[in-house]
């Protein structure tokens, strides 16, 4: 036991004396969370829009004010004629244009039907669709406003309610995904590199020619990184709650237990990588590059798994972060308990046991 403790302490020395490890350990999660939380988002805010008002009456001006007041649009006031619209689109800065025809207000009041033209840059179809939807909604609101009592027969008025995330805050989706990604990368990279470093530096030769059992070497490597990863988890949670307004609706103990399970799973994967690689560089490549892409692709936080063809869905089942993502979303956002996520937990536990057993078995008691 004393041997074990002294080994763990040595690992901590390694971590705290190496700037590169510290950077990966504490810089990476902070950077990723901030990047995904703030910079990378699928929401569209402050899109540049042109309003060409040929009508110039009360109705068109009121509608223009409503568009300007919305957080989605910034009106570009420099363009006022139809010809200039196309020039502006060609420059690519303007995403959308609204054209009020002559007599817009008059048509609306007397003819009951007024037309307004919406032009969108559909080179990016998703943005174009989103922006026209926003505009249609604003126009609908205006119509309600000027004629609240209008009694259109047989009308269906949908009342939508966005559960768990009423503001459609994009970081709610990303943060659990990034948590899974960051923990996965850090745990596998650091453990694999730390074991391979012993091989590369030759210290593994001395460790093997000692009464300290090889199995203990594996475990003593895993313990410090488990502790450090838990600190990482706390940092990520603090950042998401206080900076990104993420709620933690579920049981925080359950959240930590599930995360610990996931971390152990990733550590075991790192141990496995270390026993099949020879140099730190290869171990780093395998665990960073090799893990990054599958994790991003198959976790489901960027590309929905439901839309993937079945072979890819099958592959995604092999990625531990995919299960952890489901668990953490259920616990953090929806406040659910173990009763709902026991299946995912069981899958993770199974993976962890298998990986740990394989990596201890494949840890060589001799060189080569």
């Amino acid at each position: 036991m004393k041997q074990f403790m002294v080994f763990v302490r040595k690992e901590f020395y390694h971590v705290f004396r190496d700037r590169r490890t510290l950077l990966i350990l504490f810089g990476l999660p902070v950077m990723q969370i901030l990047l995904f939380g703030y910079a990378l988002t699928t929401e569209i805010k402050n899109a540049e829009i042109i309003v060409v008002d040929h009508a110039g009456d009360a109705a068109s001006q009121q509608l223009t004010t409503m568009i300007a007041a919305s957080k989605y649009f910034d009106i570009n006031a420099s363009v006022t004629s139809d010809e200039d619209i196309y020039k502006a689109f060609k420059k690519g800065k303007v995403k959308c244009a609204v054209v009020f025809p002559i007599g817009f207000g008059n048509d609306l009041l007397h003819g009951q039907t007024a037309q307004v033209q919406i032009i969108a840059d559909a080179a990016d179809p998703n943005t174009a669709k989103t922006l026209t939807n926003y505009l249609t909604a604003i126009i609908g609101d205006y119509q309600q406003q000027i004629n609240p009592t209008a009694n259109i027969p047989m009308r269906i008025s949908p009342v939508t309610r966005m559960l768990y995330n009423p503001e459609l805050n994009g970081s709610m989706n990303f943060v659990p995904g990034v948590m899974a990604l960051v923990l996965m990368i850090i745990c596998t990279t650091l453990t694999s590199v730390s074991i391979v470093r012993e091989k590369e530096m030759g210290t593994m030769e001395i460790l093997l020619v000692s009464p300290f059992k090889p199995t203990y070497v594996v475990l003593a490597k895993a313990v410090p990184y488990l502790a450090l990863s838990l600190i990482d988890l706390i940092i990520i949670l603090l950042l998401s709650v206080f900076l990104l307004d993420m709620p933690i609706r579920g049981n925080i103990v359950l959240l930590f237990l599930e995360s610990t399970l996931f971390i152990i799973c990733c550590l075991s994967l790192g141990l496995l990588i270390s026993s099949v690689t020879r140099t730190q560089q290869i171990a780093m490549m395998v665990s960073m590059m090799g893990m990054m892409l599958p994790t991003i692709l198959f976790t489901g936080f960027i590309f929905p798994l439901e839309n993937m063809p079945w072979p890819l869905r099958v592959i995604s089942n092999l990625v531990p972060s995919r299960w952890f993502y489901v668990i953490i979303k259920a616990v953090m956002l929806r406040g659910l308990g173990i009763g709902v996520i026991w299946k995912e937990t069981l899958v993770l536990a199974g993976m962890t046991t298998a990986l740990l057993m394989i990596s201890i078995k494949s840890f060589k008691t001799r060189l080569s």
Binding site: K2, Q3, V6, F7, K10, Y13, H14, R17, D18, M201, G202, T203, E205, I206, L207, L208, V209, S210, P211, F212, T365, R366, L367, S368
Partner: protein, 307 residues
């Protein structure tokens, strides 16, 4: 029973090409200082790795302190000290931390066996707060020796401990080995430096995975075939080339600023013949004298016969 026994051990790393070890057998008596002498790539490190249970041999058997290297590897790992050829301590840990770590790993304390390492440790103790990676070559090796000794091993395996170490530190290092031998520790040490061979009790000369001879250094020198001469001239330029053209030459090679050479055993009086041959070639001030061979000369003679 001898402490270290190797019997007909062979080992290949690759299927094609020459094996790393071919039918190597030797034994080391208890308390002996045994040297493995040979150039780089001769197979010295492979022998160490087989004896320290790090590698499995393809053929043959080996025992250390009575334990079989395959079956009882765990017992061997507790009772030997091993210092690999490459510096293998934690570079980012200080001298103190390294020593404490290895002491604890072997289930002992620095204090318990301090007497054994005291002489060595005191030399590096002033730097005990310095990280191992920042030490000089000689200090690194002293620290590595301390770490290998801290659990008072029965057998000490030192793989090229003096490679990359300055001449003064090398001398100190060998003095330490003599003291450890006096403590009753069996030591197997390898070195590519032939001058260090005479400091061992018995040596094995190794070349390309085969043992050329095993004996005491004195006996190996005594068994030198024929006579060895040293040749000097005022101008060394072309001396080697001219000498090699002489018909009676068996071996001729540079050793410092002289040439060492031996003649063919065909009953002719060659030294005088060589002198007149060289003078006819225009060499001036040529002198020749018979000398006692050293281990390096023996090694070269053995290698040439072998080839």
């Amino acid at each position: 029973m001898d402490t270290v026994i190797l019997q007909h051990v062979s080992k290949s790393y690759v299927k094609e090409g020459p094996p790393a070890l071919q039918d190597v057998s030797f034994s080391v008596k208890k308390g002996e200082l045994f040297g493995l002498i040979g150039p780089d790539g001769a197979g010295k490190s492979t022998i160490f790795r087989i004896l320290t249970t790090l590698l499995l041999s393809d053929k043959g058997s080996a025992t250390v302190a009575g334990y079989d290297v395959v079956k009882n590897y765990h017992e061997i790992r507790s009772c030997v000290g091993y210092m690999p050829g490459k510096f293998s301590l934690y570079q980012d840990l200080t001298i103190e931390e390294n020593l404490h770590f290895f002491a604890t790993l072997f289930g002992t304390t620095v204090e318990a066996n301090y007497a054994l390492i005291k002489d060595i440790y005191e030399q590096i103790a002033p730097f005990k707060k310095r990280r191992a990676g920042k030490l000089s070559g000689g200090m690194k090796q002293k620290l590595a020796l301390c770490c290998a000794l801290i659990h008072r091993p029965e057998v000490l395996f030192l793989d090229e401990p003096t490679t990359g170490v300055d001449a003064v530190s090398r001398k100190e290092f060998w003095e330490m080995l003599q003291r450890l031998k006096a403590e009753g520790i069996t030591i197997v040490v390898s070195t590519p430096y032939m001058d260090e061979a005479s400091l061992c009790e018995r040596i094995a000369l190794i070349q390309t995975g085969q043992i050329l001879s095993i004996n005491t250094p004195a006996n190996i020198i005594k068994a030198y075939p024929g006579k060895l001469y040293a040749l000097m001239a005022t101008k060394v330029h072309l001396l080697l080339k001219d000498t090699r053209q002489y018909a009676g030459i068996n071996l001729c090679y540079a050793a410092g600023d002289k040439l060492h050479l031996s003649f063919k055993d065909d009953g002719k009086h060659h030294p005088a013949g060589l002198l007149s041959w060289l003078e006819s070639k225009g060499q001036q001030g040529v002198r020749i004298e018979e000398i006692t061979p050293d281990i390096e000369d023996c090694f070269i003679a053995k290698t040439s016969i072998h080839e």
